[in-house]
């Protein structure tokens, strides 16, 4: 499928004071998708994002947004994008409405246009009632909503979000996901960083897994998981003597990708459960193998992360928090 390219990153490298934050990164973001940059803290996601929104100049390589170079045509890029920074990029003393009015002026909107848009956005993020209270009285979730409204004020073609649900309670989190899905439905392209696996899995159409500044894997969550070699069916047999017979019966069947004997049974990698499970059961019946237990395990994104980085995403996040 040929899809319009919204963002093109090619061989992007960014080094600060001798430390390489991002190294030789290349990927494309398609128009209309939610694209996630997934990785533990310090992996280089934010550096990548900040290059795309013109805040950083690459050491080498290029990035372009809707065909405009982020360095040479930074001003054009800034007109086309909206940005939602990590939480707290809020002036405690200003009201929600004043935040939006300030940004309206910075995007050079005429007053009438700005007033209309601000009213719409406050309604969208459900901040109409507290709009004229100082932001220091807002809860974490409300601040985040205000952040998103600020990002949407320029009516951007592409919205960039840095860890949009970091530190939010579950409810606010789901609400933010809803907004992002709705924006996508309206045709907006969304690029976000996250270190939450479930967020990446459920929200993003495609992901770039980044670790230590390098691109480890790229694709939709489903593709990435399938790329691991499919789902796993683990069988535990009542009589272990029948394991070799079942292994040889299943090996080579079309739905099985790999069959491996384990001490108590078999591990079978399969492409799709619909085809594989009946075939497995049929062979087991035919050979008169009694099954004690069947476990069906779909690879999680964390498995993808482990395969590509050699460690678990959850571990790496904990490592960083422990530091």
């Amino acid at each position: 499928m040929d899809r319009a390219i919204a963002i093109q990153v090619s061989r992007l490298t960014k080094a600060y004071d001798g430390h390489t934050a991002v190294s030789d990164l290349s990927f494309e973001v398609y128009a209309g998708e939610i694209f996630g940059l997934l990785g533990p803290n310090g992996a280089g996601k934010s550096t990548t994002l900040r290059t795309l929104i013109t805040l950083l100049t690459p050491t080498s390589g290029t990035a372009s947004v809707l065909g405009h170079d982020t360095v040479r045509e930074a001003d054009v890029v800034r007109q086309l994008i909206g940005y939602v920074p990590q939480e707290r990029a809020i002036d405690r003393f200003l009201t929600g409405r004043e935040h939006l009015e300030l940004l309206g002026a910075l995007y050079h909107l005429p007053k009438a246009e700005a007033t209309k848009r601000i009213a719409e956005l406050l309604k969208l993020v459900e901040l109409e009632e507290p709009a004229d209270r100082a932001a220091k009285t807002y809860s974490g979730g409300m601040k985040r909503k205000l952040d998103i409204a600020c990002g949407l004020l320029p009516d951007p073609k592409i919205l960039f979000l840095d860890e949009p649900t970091l530190g939010l309670d579950v409810q606010s989190r789901l609400r933010i996901w809803d907004y992002l899905r709705m924006l996508k439905a309206r045709g907006m392209t969304i690029v976000m960083t996250t270190n939450y696996l479930d967020e990446a899995d459920q929200l993003c159409d495609r992901l770039a897994i980044i670790d230590k500044g390098k691109l480890m894997a790229l694709g939709s969550p489903a593709e990435l998981k399938v790329g691991l070699g499919g789902d796993i069916v683990s069988l535990t047999l009542k009589e272990q003597t029948k394991i070799p017979a079942l292994v040889s019966a299943l090996t080579g069947q079309p739905a099985m990708r790999a069959v491996k004997a384990t001490p108590t049974g078999l591990d079978i990698r399969v492409d799709s459960p619909e085809k594989a499970l009946p075939a497995i059961l049929e062979s087991a019946n035919r050979l008169d193998c009694q099954l004690e237990f069947i476990e069906y395990h779909r690879p999680r994104l964390d498995d993808v992360f482990i395969v590509h980085t050699g460690r678990s995403m959850t571990e790496s996040v904990q490592d960083i928090q422990a530091e």
Binding site: T57, D75, Y83, A89, F93, L106
Partner: protein
């Protein structure tokens, strides 16, 4: 150009709003220099200060010029603080992703700091007036005092903003600020005339731009135009050089910090 003005206006109004929401902070900002220096220090040293040495009718009238310039100094050096907080909480980053002229942020800060400082200087001159200090050069003299204050303030604010962009943490910023402010005051003619200082301090004070500013403001308050004009001419030259150096240095920092 209309866009440029729209940006600067919106950003300047943000500083004004912030200040008006911090009522306590505003009160202290306005009152502190008068209270501490002019009223307490001025009256405290009224009899200890030798009229022969200060060459002024009383110590408060001598001190007024010093307090005016001290206020310019402190406001200028603190002029970058809000940008420092903006940098630390990501607000600056948000501003930098909008299609604004990079200089709008800096200019809005200059406009705001200069306006607040001028208002404070007027209040200080007003309070001095209540203590019987009448500016010898009248309203025109007051206007010249404000101009000198702004000339000095621009350079100081530039240094402060450059520092705000360069420091690693706001702890560093406030340490440097605390370290600069008092020595600048003691090594100037704010509290004691140069001639009455120990030779080495007097020598160092001559290199302090603050001394030049005070030596021009003081005759505007105490003596009159004939005595003041040569000093005013001199301070304009000194301040233009000072500002040029500060702006040149800080412009480099701004460009690196804001792209």
């Amino acid at each position: 150009m209309a866009q440029y003005w729209q940006e600067i206006h919106a950003l300047t109004m943000r500083w004004v709003r912030r200040l008006s929401r911090e009522k306590f902070s505003m009160l202290f900002t306005l009152v502190q220099p008068m209270l501490f220096w002019l009223i307490f220090f001025g009256n405290l040293f009224q009899r200890a200060a030798d009229v022969q040495v200060t060459q002024a009718p009383n110590y408060i009238s001598f001190l007024a010029a010093g307090v005016v310039v001290m206020t310019v100094l402190n406001n200028g050096l603190a002029g970058g603080v809000d940008l420092l907080f903006d940098k630390e909480n990501g607000f600056l980053e948000r501003l930098m992703t909008t299609p604004i002229h990079r200089s709008s942020v800096i200019l809005s800060r200059f406009i705001f700091v200069m306006t607040i400082t001028s208002l404070q200087v007027l209040v200080i001159l007003g309070v001095s007036f209540l203590f019987g200090v009448q500016p010898a050069t009248g309203f025109l003299g007051v206007a010249v005092i404000l101009m000198i204050g702004m000339l000095f303030g621009v350079g100081l604010t530039a240094i402060s903003m450059a520092m705000a962009f360069s420091v690693k943490s706001h702890g560093d910023f406030f340490s440097v600020l605390g370290f600069l402010s008092l020595p600048m005051i003691f090594l100037s003619s704010a509290l004691v005339p140069l001639a009455a200082m120990p030779a080495w301090m007097g020598f160092l004070a001559r290199f302090n731009p603050m001394t030049w500013a005070i030596d021009a403001v003081r005759p505007l308050i105490l003596s009159g135009w004939t005595e003041a004009l040569p000093h005013v001419g001199m301070v304009v030259v000194v301040m233009l050089v000072f500002d040029a150096l500060c702006l040149y240095g800080s412009a480099k920092v701004f460009r690196r910090a804001m792209g």
